[in-house]
């Protein structure tokens, strides 16, 4: 661990930017200007660059617009859709009906397309709350095929095989009949989706998506309402896909069954994968290529289905970050920042553990921040926690020890709401949380860490600290889309607090490093800091010293005592490293086989023959 084999010192960022990123209205302005000028541009350029080329570019940009929502769903939120074509189809047909059949303005068609897409995604997404994992793939597959073979073929609704004509968009008296004008419109709409997507990812909503993709339990421990954010992801996906479908309809001029096939859905999955999950620019670029190139270079058409999936498989196995990863590497190279693996001394790292004062929330100081009464947790026939009653005293460090399989982590999970209790009562900071979902328990002023680091490894340290403050970001998710002033203010406050935390930890230079690049000990310290930041009432630590060197563990012990004395934190910790327990704990609970064996001071525990027997595997007298 201590071996310092730094080939090159990781770039030290002396200035840590305090300001939240600004809403990119400048970019928006460019789009608007482009749109306003496009009719003139179109005529000026019509020499070398004819309408046919413009139409091809329209396809490219539309594909990019269509791929971004799937990237949002798969890349950010970690959910899958194998029925993407159906969502696009819903949008195209909605526009066909509104703008084509009814002759209403195309903007209305666009809005209806978005609404229809959102509703469809909501209906598909709701079961995903109850059904985890693979089943979403099946349900979206079924949705795609059902829409294709029934809805998109109903003569009365969608015009049967012939489909519906989707006319060129009209805005007032201006008709986008020239392909250059159409291209300008498509670019503006694509830009709008890009901006909304970008805004979203700079706020708590985007961070919540990334967290629930990583580990739902961790997300819930930070106070993120997992089902709600899943639904947000689906609704946004559906609305944006609907909009893209509407544009696709206008570009093709038709909404037809044969456009929205099963393999069209799969191609978008391939596009997102080649672009690189989570990489907005990579996905847009790969989609643009898929949309434009077969029409630009006719001979490519046959090869796309052959080369693209092969590329995906190769990417998955060899380069999991895809095109986006390559783009990021180039960016790093241009900025002269190498993503060198940051190595450092764990012992030194732990020495720095001082925690920032937690943000005051409205939790009351109570004598016993945690009271567990007769809690039972069963998994099928196995009783993991069998009627445990214990409490944790205010401003004390309380230990929970016991042999492997004693039920310690299960008890922690029951307290933080990650497993169901069959019986008993749990009171946190004077609030009965027994029936509350996990994310609301976090709001009662309880933070926790996990045996495996409970943070997102491929987010930067700063972003992780922002994620931890999820509950403190009080703006609503809709305003996050527009990155409105209150969002900007809220984000700035979170960033200030994150920066403060980093400076207290003396981790400023890791601010922009991916968490996964830090050493295990450093990650642990960031995790404890993150959990403590928003939880003045009670801090649950699950084996904080796991994976640390003995010296680092010793330093950690000193820091925990410091947290108790200087900040006044209450700490409840599971620990196997007994010297740490002896050094820090004021009181220790011992569990064995799901039961509370005894409680006492560390000295009493050490002398207790039952405890010794439990640890040595002998039989208690």
């Amino acid at each position: 661990m201590a071996a310092k084999t730094l080939e090159r010192e990781p770039a030290v960022r002396t200035t840590f930017s305090l300001s939240a990123p600004r809403p990119s209205w400048q970019v928006g302005l460019v789009f608007v200007a482009f749109a306003a000028l496009s009719p003139f541009l179109g005529r000026a350029l019509s020499g070398p660059f004819n309408g046919y080329h413009a139409l091809i570019l329209c396809f490219g940009v539309t594909y990019a617009m269509a791929a971004l929502p799937l990237n949002l769903l798969m890349g950010y939120a970690g959910q899958i859709s194998l029925g993407h074509a159906a969502f696009l189809g819903v949008g195209a047909y909605a526009s066909g009906i509104i703008a084509g059949r009814l002759g209403l303005p195309f903007v209305l068609g666009l809005l209806v397309a978005m609404a229809a897409g959102a509703v469809a995604a909501l209906v598909i997404g709701l079961p995903a709350l109850r059904i985890r994992g693979l089943y979403l793939a099946l349900v979206t597959l079924g949705f795609g095929l059902a829409m294709y073979s029934l809805v998109f073929r109903l003569r009365a609704v969608t015009g049967g095989y012939a489909g519906i004509a989707v006319p060129r968009p009209k805005a007032g008296t201006f008709e986008f009949s020239n392909n250059m004008d159409l291209l300008a419109m498509v670019i503006v709409l694509f830009g709008a989706v890009w901006l909304l997507d970008r805004n979203l990812m700079r706020t708590k909503v985007g961070r919540a998506f990334l967290a629930l993709r990583e580990e739902e339990d961790v997300a819930a421990a930070f106070g993120i309402d997992v089902p709600r954010y899943k639904i947000y992801a689906f609704v946004l996906y559906g609305a944006f896909a609907g909009a893209a479908g509407s544009v696709l309809g206008h570009v093709i001029g038709f909404a037809q069954q044969e456009t929205f096939t099963f393999d069209f859905s799969l191609i978008f999955v391939v596009i997102v994968l080649i672009g690189g999950l989570r990489s907005r620019s990579g996905v847009a670029l790969s989609a643009f290529f898929f949309g434009a190139s077969p029409r630009l270079f006719g001979f490519l058409h046959d090869w796309v289905l052959l080369v693209a999936p092969a590329l995906v498989l190769f990417t998955l196995v060899r380069h999991p970050r895809g095109l986006g990863g390559a783009i990021a590497e180039i960016q790093h190279a241009i900025r002269g920042r190498r993503s060198a693996k940051i190595e450092s001394d764990d012992d030194e790292a732990a020495g720095h553990l001082a925690l920032p004062r937690p943000v005051a929330t409205d939790t009351r100081d109570v004598e016993k921040p945690l009271v567990v009464g007769d809690v039972v947790v069963r998994f099928g026939g196995l009783v993991a926690v069998d009627g445990v009653s214990l409490d944790v005293e205010h401003n004390r460090i309380t230990g929970l020890i016991g042999p492997n399989g004693a039920g310690k982590t299960t008890l922690f999970n029951a307290v933080s709401g990650l497993v169901q209790t069959q019986q008993g009562q749990i009171v946190v900071n004077g609030v009965d949380v027994t029936k509350m979902p996990a994310h609301r328990r976090a709001a009662a002023g309880m933070g926790r860490t996990f045996q495996q680091i409970g943070l997102v490894k491929d987010l930067s340290v700063t972003e992780n600290l922002l994620l931890a403050q999820h509950r403190l970001a009080s703006y609503d998710p809709v305003s996050a889309l527009g990155f409105l002033p209150q969002v900007s203010r809220g984000e700035r406050r979170l960033r200030e607090r994150a920066a403060e935390t980093l400076s207290v930890l003396r981790f400023e230079r890791y601010a922009d490093a991916d968490l996964g690049e830090l050493s295990h000990g450093q990650q642990r310290i960031v995790e404890i800091a993150a959990a403590s930041l928003t939880s003045p009432g009670l801090l649950l630590l699950d084996e904080p010293s796991a994976g640390m060197s003995p010296a680092a563990a010793e330093a950690l012990a000193e820091r925990l005592i410091q947290i108790r004395d200087e900040i006044g934190q209450t700490i409840f910790l599971i620990e196997h490293h007994l010297p740490l327990v002896m050094a820090t704990c004021d009181r220790v609970h011992v569990m064995d086989s799901g039961r509370l064996l005894t409680t006492g001071t560390p000295a009493e525990i050490r002398r207790n023959p039952d405890v010794v027997a439990a640890y040595l595997g002998g039989r208690a007298r």
Binding site: M74, G78, I80, L82, P127, R130, I131, G133, L134, Y135, A137, L138, V139, L141, G142, F143, L145, A146, Y148, S149, L150, V151, R153, L154, T261, F262, D263, L266, I267, V269, V270, L273, D302, W303, V304, L305, L306, V307, A308, P309, A310, V312, L313, L316, V317, P320
Partner: protein
């Protein structure tokens, strides 16, 4: 009524057989094999080439095609699934989806998008049950389905290899400790499921008359519905589910022939409903 049942059971046997392959892979490796359909289609195309332009005897052609699909499945397992086995389930879904698309792309490139017609090797007239003449390919699929179920039941209950396969899905380390080579297990299931895909591909191609790349996508939906109804982890459940889906399809075709795509829509609804109400299906055990 009898007609519906006979047609339903005969087509359902094919769905059940296909679902059987899906469940086999899912049981052993917890991966949904979205590639099985196109690997099956590949076998049909290969059979077409070997019987039409090449004029090999039918049995030999089908044998070669099935062996080839098995090899494709095992190669895929070796090159993609094994390196990714500890990746997220999302990644694995994407991997099998891409593999299916890749095989479809190969078919498009090699055989083009125009429909092909596979002539039936069976010269006898199928038996007549309840007034319905059972086409020979369906009869063969029915027999293969029953035989496959029996073999699988014996394999998973009575052989060490089969038991290890089931155990591997639960506890990889445990199986490794027994000295059984996991690699062989995983490759074996992917091979078998791909051959099953091949058999169903050929049968469906024969009964459709004309077929083009991606003709198996619909079958995939119906077979997944069958697997879900059967509980996703139950091999007999897959066969029973397949028959249920077949009978449902025959019923819909009989009464509401004029509504297009009703079968697919109903099956979509069935998947959603079963997953919501009873995720363990008819015969599956709770995970």
């Amino acid at each position: 009524m009898g007609t519906i049942l006979v047609i339903g059971i005969a087509t359902g046997a094919v769905y059940g057989l296909f679902a059987f392959g899906l469940v086999l892979v899912y049981k052993a490796t917890r991966v949904l094999n979205f590639a099985q359909a196109e690997i099956g289609a590949f076998a049909a195309f290969l059979t077409w080439t070997l019987t039409n332009p090449v004029h090999l005897p039918w049995a030999l052609a089908a044998g070669i095609a099935l062996a080839a699909s098995g090899i494709v499945g095992m190669a895929f397992e070796r090159l993609v699934i094994r390196p990714l086995i500890s990746a997220s389930r999302l990644t694995l879904v994407v991997a099998t989806v891409s593999a299916g698309l890749l095989v479809g792309g190969v078919e498009l490139k090699a055989w083009g998008g125009n429909p092909k017609i596979l002539s039936s090797p069976f010269t006898f007239r199928g038996p007549s049950i309840a007034g319905v003449v059972l086409p020979p390919p369906r009869l063969v699929a029915l027999i293969i389905g029953i035989v496959a179920a029996a073999v699988a039941a014996w394999f998973f209950r009575r052989t060490t290899f089969g038991l290890a396969l089931l155990a591997a899905a639960q506890d990889v380390v445990g199986v490794r400790l027994t000295g059984i080579r996991l690699r062989h297990l995983s490759a074996f299931t992917w091979g078998v499921s791909s051959v099953i895909g091949g058999i169903t591909g050929i049968v469906i191609a024969l009964s459709l008359g004309a077929f083009a790349p991606f003709f198996m996508a619909r079958l995939m939906l119906l077979a997944f519905a069958a697997a879900v109804v059967g509980g996703m982890t139950s091999l007999p459940g897959a066969l029973v589910g397949g028959v249920a889906v077949g009978v449902a399809e025959a019923t819909i075709a009989h009464f509401w022939i004029s509504v297009p795509g009703l079968v697919e829509t109903v099956m979509f609804g069935v998947i959603v409903l079963v997953l919501l109400v009873r995720p363990s299906g008819l015969l599956g055990r709770a995970a």
